[in-house]
């Protein structure tokens, strides 16, 4: 059932590929193209799982597909399809695998054949299982414990994955975009040109409505580059996650952890004396020393915990929001295949469409919240009181 639907999508794709230019003028085709964008995501979604377990029921298939999509991938596949003879074809390109397993091992991810075969490098055998690389024997046996977790040893994986490629592309894009904006000022007498006209107000907004009120006029300049960088980095990656490429970078815990860690480090390394006084002497002069003796063993650990919890909430919030958005969106697309009726499928399509519009908003909102809260924490760190009574 799924296959037929899926084949239709592929046929549609081919049809559109050849006749697209001619038909592009009509509104109908544009609509069709929009539908196709959703379809191509779903076809891309199906790739490896189909071959693994062709007998699984549709719900499990969709669930596994969503799981797969949410994870990082070792090759950059755009979509895959099944030929009439039942052969899987993948459209995309392999990425380099870099492993540390008693020495550096570098090879192409094409050796895994999308997880279907075992890769042999320097006499070691590796297998891709649930987007992770395990060391196996020559036949690729994966051993499981009682909780169905693989017990094979895992080499340290520094591969250039799909997410790394997207981070690199986003970084390059940002560098070209904002480097260009910076140059356009000099060329055009202080007035931006082109896309800079769109991005300059956002830069100003971050400066005037995020950095200035939260950090304060005196010190905000120091944090501006970081705030601007995380805002656009998260926003662009969120938006890329909504394209049919569907790379869920900001919904990856390693990414959000790295970002939150940077905020944590910036906060604490730029912390003023007053900031540390807030943590280690929160009550200041309001309590005599013998009172503090009893209270501080409780208060100081709480304050210290707060220092960690603040950035931790950042990392979980961004991760959970992007992850949840992708799950909801993919599930609604999956519902189309489950309903298979004239009523249900369009309905879930409409829902999926509405949710994607909301996701566009969420993409911006999450970037804003991350930046805003980072600025707020920097504001705590940069705080300076004129006199001790203010504590």
């Amino acid at each position: 059932m799924l296959f037929s639907f899926y084949k239709n999508a592929v046929h549609l794709h081919r049809f559109l590929g050849t006749d697209r230019i001619r038909n592009m003028r009509t509104v109908f085709t544009k609509l069709l193209f929009a539908v196709l964008l959703v379809f191509s995501t779903s076809s891309f979604a199906l790739e490896t799982e189909v071959s693994d377990a062709p007998k699984k029921d549709l719900k499990t298939e969709i669930k596994e597909y969503i799981d797969h999509h949410l994870k990082d991938s070792h090759d950059f596949s755009l979509f895959s399809y099944t030929t009439d003879s039942g052969e899987h074809k993948y459209v995309g390109f392999p990425l380099p695998i870099i492993l540390w397993d008693n020495g550096l091992k570098v090879f192409s991810s094409s050796k895994f054949h999308h997880g279907e075969t075992v890769a042999e490098v320097d006499g070691n055998h590796y297998k891709l299982y649930h987007s992770k690389i395990y060391k196996t024997d020559a036949s690729g046996t994966i051993n499981y414990d009682e909780n169905h977790h693989a017990t094979n040893s895992k080499p340290i994986d520094f591969s250039i994955t799909k997410s790394v490629v997207m981070i690199f592309i986003t970084g390059l894009l940002m560098f070209l975009l904002f480097g260009g904006l910076a140059k356009s000022y000099a060329k055009n007498g202080g007035i931006p040109t082109g896309v800079g006209r769109f991005f300059e107000p956002i830069v100003l907004y971050i400066r005037d409505d995020i950095a200035r009120p939260n950090i304060g006029e005196k010190k905000y300049k120091r944090y501006m580059p970081y705030l601007l960088s995380i805002f656009f980095f998260i926003w662009f990656l969120n938006i890329f996650g909504l394209t049919p490429l569907g790379v869920n970078v900001t919904g990856n815990i390693a990414i959000t952890f790295a970002l939150a860690l940077l905020t944590f480090l910036f906060t604490n390394f730029t912390g003023t004396k007053d900031y540390w006084m807030h943590i280690f002497d929160p009550l200041g002069d309001t309590l005599p020393w013998y009172g503090k003796l009893f209270l501080y063993p409780i208060l100081i650990p709480i304050e210290l915990l707060g220092v960690v919890i603040k950035p931790f909430s950042l990392l979980i919030r961004l991760y959970a929001n992007m992850q949840a958005g992708h799950i909801v969106l993919m599930s609604l697309i999956g519902l189309m295949f489950l309903f298979k009726s004239w009523l249900g499928s369009p309905l879930s399509f409409g829902l999926a469409f509405a949710i994607s519009l909301i996701e566009v908003l969420v993409a911006l909102l999450q970037a804003y919240i991350f930046t805003m809260l980072s600025a707020l924490y920097f504001g705590f760190a940069a705080v300076e009181h004129d006199h001790a009574e203010a504590h």
């Binding site: 994870k71 520094f158 997410s163 560098f175 601007l228 790295a258 860690l261």
Partner: protein, 166 residues
Amino acid sequence: MEKLLEEFSLGLFFWQCLLFGLLLFLLWKFAWKPILNAVNDREDGIKDALAAAENAKKEMQNVTADSERLLQEARAEREAMLKEAREIKEKMIADSKEQAKIEGDKMLKQAQATIESEKKAAVADIKSQVANLSVDIAEKVIKEQLSAKDKQLKLVEDMLGDIKLN
């Protein structure tokens, strides 16, 4: 939590830190710094321009007030000058009228005096001429009337007659 930890990929974390750190540094150097500086410069420029415009406006107001004042003064001066001129004119007219009147009176009096004296002279002349004429006539009449004897007798008689009557 266990799922999260399992999902955590050290490699991705490493690449993210490396690439983002690099990106942060490059953007800091080549994008944010020049952008923020340019924006600051522009804002300062706008502020300066606004202040300058405000100053120019004030200056302009001052200049306008000045010129207004000057104009007022000029107008008042003109007014005063005109008034003065008018006064002078009137005074001159009045003066000349006075002068003319005095002159006229003087001339009139002279004329009258002349006429009077002329008249007197003429009357005196007439008087003397009349006297002469009367004497002449009387001489002639007397000569005529006393030319004949009888007439002389008659006259004597008449005169005698008159005396009689008296």
